[in-house]
């Protein structure tokens, strides 16, 4: 299946690796007509998949409130998926995503019930700080006089070797989208319909797509939907984008690892501390997968993504079942399914991840864990079915403590509750001989500070939106 690459906004397919700086600007629409004009003016600059700019990139995303504020009718909005329409902060979704206590939406900086509404997200990228922020400022000159108000702005960057603040290389394993001309190992080569509407997904059917219910704007711009109902399709070549601002408590993180592995005299056992952290992560700080290097970090910089679990580590003694990596992408070891079945099923729960770090450019380690001020990452991912992909991974694989045969083990990186119900344990089990090792009393190292579900439309649809 050929993809219409020039109609797809670039960030779904490419990570803009060379764009080291980014600014995400959340805007609220005050005057829709002007806002549409602003968008229209900038459509030519929107980066699509075929562009390979060397200086800067621009992408747009919209919340359901944003589409409404631009004037989309109720009937048309109703054809978007429920997850997107309801947003990230309903009571039920809060339970699924585990946003409790200080991570509760009521405490968020943006996207929560106590914050100003986020309508449009402007995603600006630049090869260096100057280009990125100059370009963002240029746009700012326009939007502040275009009926758009800035609600929040997060500057992001990519650290050298793509490390995140805890000290680990991030974003190594990604699915590749069939038809984009990129290719990876077959287990990562996923049908386009898992990420883009208008194409078949891993069930070999077309994902739910927002078709036009009532005539609005210049409908002739829009293609007809792929499943052949004869309706105009807003979704084709678009995706749903999940964004969550996640604060990383680097100090707590390394103190916890140090404490759990300290020497008898109370001093820090650096090697053991890193090893525990790596077991929880599933990779070493260098990025090397622990299933291949169970003893110690081979060092250097690793992009190694060529591994499965069952052949070399069926009992989790190298990479624990509870580790972040093995849970959130179980590869050939999905629950207790066979290898082939696992590989088939895992394909239905993949996301395209994009992360940008914010705060101090700090890379933590056992002896260095006090960044200057708040640090974290803006987690972003693309999927066509938020419920079956992002939410499934977050709930069923990360938060759910009964994963596999486990009893009380949430994902140690992103599934721990800050204040668990009284009597509830939160452990990390390391399969060992003769008996397993248990790290008890896990702490929440990552806190949600904001978030929203966005529609990441095709360039055609962005154009169309300016006509409604």
């Amino acid at each position: 299946m050929e993809l219409e690459l020039s109609d797809i906004q670039g960030y779904v397919v490419r990570g803009y690796k060379y764009m080291m700086y980014s600014r995400y600007v959340m805007l609220t629409v005050t005057e829709p007509a002007l806002a549409k004009k602003f968008i229209k003016t900038n459509v030519p600059d929107v980066t699509n998949v075929t562009h390979h700019p060397t200086t800067h990139c621009l992408n747009f995303a919209f919340t359901s409130l944003g589409l409404k504020s631009l004037g989309m009718s109720r009937e048309n909005l109703d054809n978007f998926t429920r997850e997107f329409r309801e947003g990230m902060t309903t009571e039920h979704r809060q339970r699924l995503l585990g946003d409790f206590d200080s991570s509760a939406p009521g405490n968020w900086r943006w996207g929560g019930p106590n914050n100003e509404e986020v309508h449009i997200l402007l995603m600006v990228f630049g090869a260096n700080k100057e280009i990125a922020f100059n370009y963002a400022d240029q746009l700012k000159q326009q939007y502040i006089v275009s009926g758009l108000k800035e609600v929040c702005c997060i500057d992001g960057q990519t650290l050298p070797y793509n490390k995140e603040h805890f000290g680990f290389r991030d974003g190594i394993s990604q699915p590749t989208i069939k038809g984009t001309g990129r290719s990876g190992p077959p287990e990562h080569d996923i049908n386009a319909g898992e990420f883009l509407m208008g194409y078949k997904n891993e069930y070999n059917v077309y994902p739910d797509t927002p078709v036009l219910a009532t005539v609005q704007g210049d409908t002739t711009l829009l293609p007809f939907d792929a499943s052949g109902t004869g309706k105009r399709d807003l979704g084709r070549n678009g995706s749903y984008m999940v964004m969550r601002q996640l604060q990383q408590d680097v100090d707590l993180y390394w103190n916890f690892m140090n404490e759990a592995t300290k020497n008898e005299d109370g001093s820090v056992n650096i090697e053991a501390s890193i090893k525990l952290a790596a077991q929880m992560m599933g990779r070493w700080p260098s990025g090397a997968p622990i299933v291949k290097f169970p003893g110690k970090d081979p060092g250097g910089i690793s992009d190694d993504d060529d591994f499965l679990y069952m052949e070399h580590d069926p009992d989790g003694s190298k990479c624990p079942f509870g580790s972040h990596l093995r849970r959130t992408n179980p590869r050939d070891n999905f629950e207790d399914n066979g290898v082939k079945e696992s590989l088939r099923l895992t394909r239905r729960h993949r996301i395209m991840r994009r992360a940008r770090l914010y705060g101090d450019t700090y890379v933590g380690s056992p002896l260095n864990h006090s960044p200057d001020g708040e640090v974290g990452l803006v987690f972003t991912c693309f999927n066509a079915d938020i419920s079956r992909q992002f939410e499934f991974i977050q709930y069923t694989w990360a938060n759910y403590p009964k994963f596999k045969q486990l009893y009380n083990d949430p994902d140690p990186i992103c599934g721990v509750r800050e204040n668990p119900a009284p009597g509830t344990e939160q452990n990390f089990t390391i399969p060992c001989s003769p008996v397993n090792r248990y790290v008890t009393g896990l702490k929440k190292f990552v806190h949600t500070k904001g978030g929203a579900y966005f529609f990441f439309p095709s360039i055609t649809t962005i154009n169309y939106l300016t006509t409604i």
């Binding site: 997904n201 994902p207 419920s387 709930y395 009893y407």
Partner: protein, 420 residues
């Protein structure tokens, strides 16, 4: 071995009492969420219980029954039915009175007695077409005891120092320690864990082989004469009524387990009914012989499930209690047993388009998920005796208990220790 059994009571609600009953059920729901103990918990035999209010109208607003609103009660309990009904009528008298005084013909206060209550409840008993228990033979008491034992040993292992000890030495230390603990006296007695009955399976295979020509003809008739007339729902998940979904989600994911209640309407015609009944018999045979160790058609998260025909076989209730989220559960259904699911459920209305009875249908993921929600109804009250245990935990705990006092070789002892 004590068996777990299902009880289903379908009782007409008295005219004008609907709102009172609803309020009472909501009160009980809140109490259970808050953890305030209920009368029926004292029986220590009920694994799961649920109450729903069954409307005479279906999801389209069409009248399906002329009886009015009915209260449906279901329980998964230990022991025999007579004893269960006696228990409810005597030890939960006030609870039953409060609830059923809202229902038709309930004895007035002066004539209430354990006997009159029991006679009343028995009157509304509806038989299940099929019933599945994830951990057959494990009583509530046993599940609780075995979990206590597991937690005890886990703590013992965690706090010990086992360097340079062999797995057999560790197994023996655990054994000695547990032996010295009086409250685990019961653990010395191993329990029987049901295994696959190969003889039964062979017999089933033989019957199927004999019937095969008829089955093929039957399926062909369905494919060429019935399926073309089917009218699938045709909605995608985003098109299902928002308020309906909200109401369902309100009562989901409060714990690590969930409930699922569906009311399905049979497709017209004898042939569909016979197909369903045949498949129910088949399912029953598989449940008895093959699905004996925590998996229903390969789905590893179901504690209990049941199918119940009501309204003169015009409608079917499906109840299940499962681990994890709705999305995971329904996804598992498609991934693990889409064909079985399609074979059974496609005899009910608006199911996604099928081919040859077993194909397509549930594999049309988007439409199937929408269909599932469409025919799901809110559960008013749901009770689970062990929300903190997955079915895998329950089964693992029994293996721990049985292996604890066995003589194990090195491999077995290592396997035993890996269970923690």
């Amino acid at each position: 071995m004590i068996h777990q059994n299902p009880l289903t009571l379908v009782t007409p609600v008295k005219n004008g009492e609907h709102d009172n009953l609803d309020a009472l059920l909501m009160k009980i729901r809140q109490e259970i969420i808050k953890g305030s103990p209920q009368d029926f918990e004292n029986l220590n035999t009920i694994h799961y219980a649920r109450w729903i209010l069954l409307e005479p109208k279906d999801a389209d607003g069409k009248l399906q029954s002329d009886v009015g609103v009915r209260l449906v009660f279901s329980s998964d309990y230990d022991g025999d039915e007579d004893e269960h009904l006696t228990d409810l009528s005597t030890k939960c008298a006030r609870f039953i009175d409060d609830m059923y005084s809202c229902c038709e013909d309930y004895p007035p206060p002066a004539r209430r007695s354990p006997e009159s209550r029991k006679i009343y409840l028995s009157r509304w008993r509806v038989k299940e077409s099929a019933f599945f228990a994830g951990a057959p033979g494990r009583t509530l008491r046993q599940i609780r005891q075995e979990n206590e034992l597991r937690n005890y040993i886990w703590n013992f292992i965690k706090s010990g120092s086992w360097n340079n000890k062999s797995v057999n030495e560790i197994h023996n230390s655990i054994k000695e320690n547990v032996l010295a603990t009086k409250k685990f006296e019961w653990a010395k007695e191993p329990v029987k864990i049901p295994g696959v009955r190969w003889l039964g399976m062979a017999f089933l295979g033989l019957i199927l082989l004999v019937l095969l020509p008829f089955i093929i003809i039957w399926v062909l008739i369905i494919n060429f004469f019935l399926e073309p007339r089917d009218k699938p729902l045709g909605l995608t998940p985003s098109q299902v009524d928002e308020a309906h979904i909200k109401k369902l989600e309100e009562y989901e994911d409060l714990e690590n387990q969930n409930q699922f209640t569906q009311v399905l309407i049979m497709k017209p015609g004898k042939m569909r009914l016979i197909t369903l009944q045949g498949l129910m018999l088949f399912a029953k045979a598989l449940i008895k012989n093959l699905f004996v160790n925590g998996k229903l058609m390969g789905i590893p998260t179901i504690h209990f499930a049941r199918w119940v025909m009501i309204d003169g076989q015009k409608r079917m209730l499906f109840f299940s209690n499962f681990d994890g989220s709705w999305q995971q559960y329904l996804g598992d259904f498609i991934d693990k047993s889409g064909w079985g699911l399609t074979g059974i459920w496609s005899n009910t209305q608006k199911f996604p388009k099928t081919k040859f009875l077993f194909a397509a249908g549930a594999y049309d993921e988007e439409h199937f998920l929408a269909w599932s929600r469409y025919f799901q109804i809110p559960t008013s009250v749901w009770y689970c005796a062990y929300p903190h245990l997955s079915i895998k935990n329950v089964i693992n705990n029994t293996y721990i208990r049985n292996d604890l006092f066995k003589e194990l070789n090195e491999t077995e002892a290592q396997k035993f220790l890996k269970r923690f």
